[in-house]
Symmetry: C2
Subunit: 460 residues, 2 copies
């Protein structure tokens, strides 16, 4: 039995194991789940040992969730070394802005309609698990042709600080020829795709305060500036009428894509109809002069992720709220600097704040954008692997999501990163009914196995 056959023969077992991992609510953004995050790390440590990796350990990082490491370096010095990255933490599953309909509990996975539904199914436990199962299949059949290092983190959804520090401190241990990350999506089962770009990110929280406590809106309404109104006025002023971010300097370092790059993106058009079907929005929106794919792939954005002010319960409460706040994230593109953008947005909010209220901006986690050259030998090897695994030539696309550590791998390890996504656009990540297609899981394992062979065949 070869590795491809092994994978097919063990699929039911693989899915049973994945469900175990999905049952652990490893929400890294909430301190109450810290124990669950550790439980997921322990589970993965045991699992890496079980599939045959060596030197498996939890790497403890002060004040952060642990990294999970394991390696298999017995392919010999002539073989290339792959660093496999994934994250075992997930987004919160309460307040998803809708109801989960496919499973009673987002942490109780359900298999239905050819998908596995659970928080983390695609982002990123399921995709990472496909990589681990490819590794297992190759190791179990004695056919792994490359050296492999596995590094899994537990705070991708909350800033990736620990892994950032670790990679910078231990480049020799992580030395490799190529980094593989499965934490993104392809266009469809029929049209696989490989990412040539990822956006960066910076998070902010703005709080507008007025009176020292909530006020009776009858007694004071009309004489004090309502903080919720002032916040709305500030937030409304952060975009202009053309869908552009109206923060001075925001676009200063945005690199315009070449016509060739724009043509590559336009190869597989993304239409308003597709957007409407995937999301349910009545009409698209965004920056004038750019296609939908460009708006999400190569243009920066500023998004409100949450609003909080005053009375949110049943009925009404006739108050002027003491304060109002908004959570904001900006998605960033080459050559924007995340810290600089955070500062510009904070400064602009301060400038927009009228003397009738006060405002405070807290700049949170930041992550760098990343790019990959579609013409590198590694990308071409990945393209051949997709053609084998999915039965169709992949195209190169740009994605709007952010995986902060990717840029660090590139700069610190000097290795190209292959964004080998196995998700689909309608996987509902960060949303109710998050899923992973079982066919993607299956084909992903085959693609990953083929990639090892293609890597080994590259001239060194």
């Amino acid at each position: 039995m070869n590795a491809y056959e092994y994978a097919r023969a063990h699929e039911a077992e693989f899915l049973g194991q994945l469900q175990e991992l999905l049952r652990i609510p490893s929400v890294s953004t909430s301190s109450e789940h810290a124990g669950d995050v550790r439980r997921a790390a322990e589970w993965l440590r045991a699992h890496l040992q079980q599939i045959g990796l060596r030197n498996v350990e939890l790497i403890e990082t002060p004040k952060h969730h642990p990294l999970v490491y394991g390696e298999w370096l017995e392919a010999g010095p002539d073989a290339p070394t792959v660093l496999l990255y994934g994250h075992y933490d997930v987004q919160p599953a309460d307040k998803d802005g809708g109801e989960w309909t496919k499973c009673a509990d987002p942490f109780e996975p359900t298999i239905a309609d050819g998908n596995i539904y659970a928080r983390g199914a695609t982002d990123d436990k399921g995709q990472t698990f496909a990589q681990l199962k490819a590794l297992e299949s190759a190791l179990a059949t004695g056919s792994l042709p490359v050296n492999v290092k596995v590094l899994l983190e537990g705070e991708e959804e909350s800033g990736s600080e620990a892994i950032e520090q670790y990679v910078r401190a231990h480049p020799e241990r992580l030395a490799c020829d190529v980094v593989v990350v499965s934490d993104s999506h392809i266009l469809s089962l029929e049209q696989p795709s490989i990412l040539s770009g990822l956006r960066g990110i910076v998070a902010l929280e703005v709080t507008v305060s007025g009176p020292k406590s909530d006020l009776h809106s009858g007694m004071y309404g009309g004489a004090v500036h309502n903080p919720a109104q002032a916040l709305a006025e500030i937030l409304a002023a952060l975009h202009d009428d053309c869908g552009r971010v109206a923060v001075p300097g925001f676009y200063d370092n945005v690199r315009e894509l070449s016509l060739e790059e724009r043509a590559e993106l336009a190869k597989v058009p993304y239409t308003a109809e597709q957007l409407a079907q995937e999301t349910g929005v009545p009409a698209p929106w965004g920056e004038h002069g750019y296609s939908l794919h460009e708006r999400t792939g190569i243009r920066p954005t500023l998004e409100i992720n949450g609003l909080t002010a005053g009375w949110q319960g049943e009925g009404s409460k006739t108050i002027i709220p003491q304060k109002a706040s908004a959570k904001i994230t900006c998605r960033l593109v080459p050559d924007q600097d995340p810290e600089r953008i955070g500062q510009l947005v904070a400064e602009h909010i301060a400038a927009l704040t009228p003397p009738t209220v006060t405002s405070a901006v807290e700049v949170g986690h930041a992550g760098m954008w990343a790019e990959a050259d579609p013409h590198s030998p590694y990308m071409e090897a990945a393209a051949r692997a997709y053609a084998f695994g999915f039965g169709a030539e992949p195209v190169f696309t740009r994605e709007g999501g952010s995986i902060p550590i990717v840029a660090t791998f590139q700069s610190v390890l000097g290795a190209p990163v292959i964004l080998m996504g196995f998700g689909l656009p309608d996987d509902n990540l960060h949303a109710p009914d998050e899923k992973l297609s079982l066919e993607c899981f299956r084909r992903g394992i085959q693609t990953a196995l083929k990639f090892y062979e293609e890597l080994r065949a590259l001239p060194r």
Copy 2:
């Protein structure tokens, strides 16, 4: 012992009883407190019986909180009849936009600094209780010179629907010469005041929806209109740069006050410093061309009472929220029609909604503004009562709060309403550390007793 002496002698007992009533969390805006609201009504029924009223009953109203009624009509046909109104429901005490510092629990009253602190201390259990204790003092000493009907409602904070229907259906039972309402505040202990106007109200809730569920802000950010942003844009457009409500037709029926009326309001100036001291706001705000007192008393407003969208927990969640909503109330003045204004605001929000999102506006409870003639014999009798109770001539002011039933009393019963407030401006109603000054409670009882005598002395 006369009634005045009786009241002074029994103050400690009165306060003990008031604390019992304040301990009942009769929050009418929240269905989970329906049992508590009924408990407060039962408590008051028993209490009205205990102080000597006749025909005491709970008036049940389908789907609504009960009214509490009692009467004493033994002053004879030559004596005037007073209808005493109050409300025994309170605002919610959680999410007050600040911490209660004076009592561990807003429903566990604390007496400190010459005040009684609790939710409902001033609005309206404490003020109504001062009226009931005046009644008790007169009845216990055989000196009540007027006929009295007491009608207490349990949903003033949630729309006053039941009492509205009841008053319209039973004008003969409630027939009276004058209505007394103690649910407002005076300027200060040294400068008593009587309200000659109350604003009306209409409540709305707007919800802006975009995608069918929360979306990953990286995958879709830039291509869909973020509902939180769209809501902010709509809300920001509801006021112009001069602090005016920018809803077409909003001011169409607003009656401009005469110079004489404005001069009366200007008698006791209300300064930016006072506003800052009471509320803690850095600077006043509001409609250009009007004084602070005018802005809260005679001008209509539109206030955001609450905002809700997306992720409100710890840390960040990189989503485009499925929807965003705002709770709004408008305070209304003569001759605005609350229903019409609700409709105008809803229509304007619909007109402001771009095709990239959808919006829905639910128009909630509405209440009419009210006015009283400062030169009527009843108002002059009330002014003499205040001069006696507080030791200073009262001035006439306009208040921004709303007591929807006042306008109904005037129109249905054809009786003038005396807004005999015993609160102070810093009583923190609808806010943490709500209180009632014990000196106000004391002087309020004396004022109410004197008012009965002044009423009796009026020519009939």
